[in-house]
């Protein structure tokens, strides 16, 4: 399954891009509306980009009333990315979304500002949300983590149904003329091809540590990149930064991925999942959706 990475596509302004995907993931929705950070919010680096959008979103209440019906009208399979600043905030949003049939799954953005990324904290949030919804919960982890495998095990134990790997990692770029940070917030999240080896390592390690299905993301630019995330252990792949330059990427990457699978005599993405591991992994993640 090919999805978009949360925050990298607005299905309402670009429905035809969203329709190329197997499933659309919303930008992270927080309890209160957020305008986001002041400009400058984006900058380019060597084979990557930095962003400090700052979770601009209408807030969960308005999202439920205004955005969700519009998104549902597009007929897309829909995941909602949920953010917050405490386990209770996450759980409240999950509870509000639980009753909405148009929402297929919830992705918890556990790499949110001001939210501690320690394994217990992520697990606490997942546990609180688990109690609030019966929908599948995908835990999105940050690669800025000495032992991401431990986090994966912790959120699995807390009741997550899947992992989304990875969010951006903190980076900084200076303006060559002023020597000041390009971004207003100074540091921002690094995405794009620069993130790919880091994402591959995270997926590889989490697949060893946990039986959960994984949405792999980070610098996917081609079908080969998608194939490699699958090989490292992902069961699905999400496209982020590539969408900015190439709104046709979902169709292109899907075609390239099919060709790459065929080259290795594999029938479907599932057959490629985990093949980079030395020995057959002892488990097969559940298909989940």
């Amino acid at each position: 399954m090919i999805l978009n990475a949360s925050g990298c596509l607005d299905a309402l302004t670009a429905p035809d891009v969203a329709q190329q995907l197997d499933c659309f993931v919303t930008k992270t929705v927080t309890p209160l509306p957020r305008g986001g950070n002041p400009p400058i919010r984006i900058a380019e680096t060597a084979v990557g980009m930095l962003n400090s959008i700052g979770l601009a979103n209408p807030g969960i209440d308005r999202f439920l009333v205004a955005n969700l019906p519009e998104l549902a009208a597009l007929g897309l399979r829909l995941w909602v990315s949920v953010g917050g600043f405490s386990a209770e905030e996450y759980a409240r949003s999950c509870a509000l979304l639980d009753g909405r049939p148009e929402v297929e799954a919830l992705e918890l953005n556990l790499s949110c500002p001001n939210v501690e990324e320690a394994a217990e904290s992520a697990a606490q949030i997942v546990a609180a949300c688990r109690a609030a919804t019966t929908k599948p919960i995908w835990a999105k982890l940050s690669p800025a983590n000495w032992d991401i495998a431990a986090s994966a095990r912790a959120v699995e134990a807390a009741g997550a149904d899947g992992l989304s790997l990875v969010n951006t990692i903190r980076g900084l770029a200076l303006d060559p003329r002023t020597n000041r940070p390009k971004l207003h917030t100074a540091t921002g999240g690094l995405s794009g091809p620069a993130l790919k080896p880091i994402a591959l390592a995270a997926v590889f390690q989490c697949r060893r540590a946990s039986a959960l299905p994984i949405v792999g993301m980070g610098g996917v630019w081609s079908g080969r990149d998608a194939f490699e995330l699958l090989a490292a252990g992902a069961t699905h792949v999400a496209l982020g930064t590539v969408l900015f330059g190439d709104p046709g990427a979902p169709t292109r990457v899907a075609a390239e991925l099919r060709a790459e699978l065929a080259r290795f005599g594999l029938e479907c993405p599932r057959d490629a999942s985990g093949i980079a591991h030395d020995h057959a992994l002892s488990f097969q993640p559940p298909l989940l959706l």
């Binding site: 957020r34 305008g35 002041p38 500002p113 921002g188 900015f244």
Partner: protein, 259 residues
């Protein structure tokens, strides 16, 4: 509907003062309305770069580019026969149904005006090209004025605002301080703003600015925004009553961290 993205062949690369006029085959890409923009692939870079359409010769598109950084330099280095992906037209262009159009450009802000003049002239039938005033930093930069024959040109320390007569329907593009000055001086003027853009079609929220007290995406709401008021003193219907201040953090909401 997201606009068309196509791989276009470069057909020309000419120097115009310090700028480069890059011509491409048009393929199936529409030139769109004057003031709209395109995202041009920048070879070797992760993100494309937003560019106004400068000219639309038959079967071609032409962009005027100031090589200020790695992306624009990579685009300016393209030679005839090379190919690049072009996405567009994007955003909202100038409203052209105005009685007394005046084109106002500052520096590379001249870029969208030649195509604007051409379309206005075509609309006006025999009544010729619209008047234009242009300001430049140096005589070298002012060489770009050849792209807008008949325009009145000034060079710093004279500012282009000194050349704008009253009660005209201003269509302006230029650096932020110039646009701020034009907005103050010319009620109802249509101003083409800039902001850093990663996508150009509403996907990244990188281009957000404050419009009407709300954070909006310039690529979707703009890049052309109408200043409050009208040349006659009335309020232009349907136009935002507060103009944006891209890049001015004091107007933006309280900072938070990361995305």
């Amino acid at each position: 509907m997201t606009p068309r993205r196509e791989l276009l062949r470069v057909t020309g690369n000419e120097r115009v003062g310090p700028y480069t006029l890059l011509r491409t085959a048009r393929g199936g890409v529409e030139p769109g309305r004057p003031g709209q923009f395109f995202m041009l692939e920048a070879p070797g870079r992760v993100l494309p770069r937003p560019m106004s359409l400068c000219l639309a010769p038959t079967g071609e598109l032409a962009f005027l580019i100031d090589p200020v950084g790695p992306g624009t330099q990579a685009i300016c280095a393209l030679q005839p026969g090379d190919e690049l992906h072009v996405l567009g037209p994007l955003g909202n262009g100038f409203r052209l149904d105005v009685p007394r159009p005046l084109l106002v450009g500052g520096g590379i802000g001249i870029a969208p005006l030649p195509y604007t003049a051409q379309v206005l002239a075509a609309r006006a039938g025999g009544r010729g090209v619209p008047p234009a005033v242009l300001g430049f930093r140096t005589a070298l930069h002012a060489e770009a004025a050849v792209l807008l024959p008949g325009a009145e040109v000034c060079i710093e320390p004279t500012y282009v605002t000194a050349l704008i007569p009253a009660a005209m329907d201003v269509l302006a593009c230029g650096p932020e301080p110039m646009l701020e000055a034009v907005r103050a001086q010319c009620p109802g003027s249509q101003l083409a703003w800039e902001a850093p853009m990663a996508c150009g079609y509403g996907a990244c929220y990188g281009c957000a600015i404050e419009i009407d007290g709300e954070i909006k995406r310039l690529c979707i709401e703009g890049p052309v925004l109408t200043a409050p008021g009208s040349p006659d003193g009335a309020t232009a219907p349907g136009s935002p009553d507060r103009a944006p201040a891209p890049g001015s953090p004091d107007r933006a909401p309280a900072p938070a961290e990361a995305a």
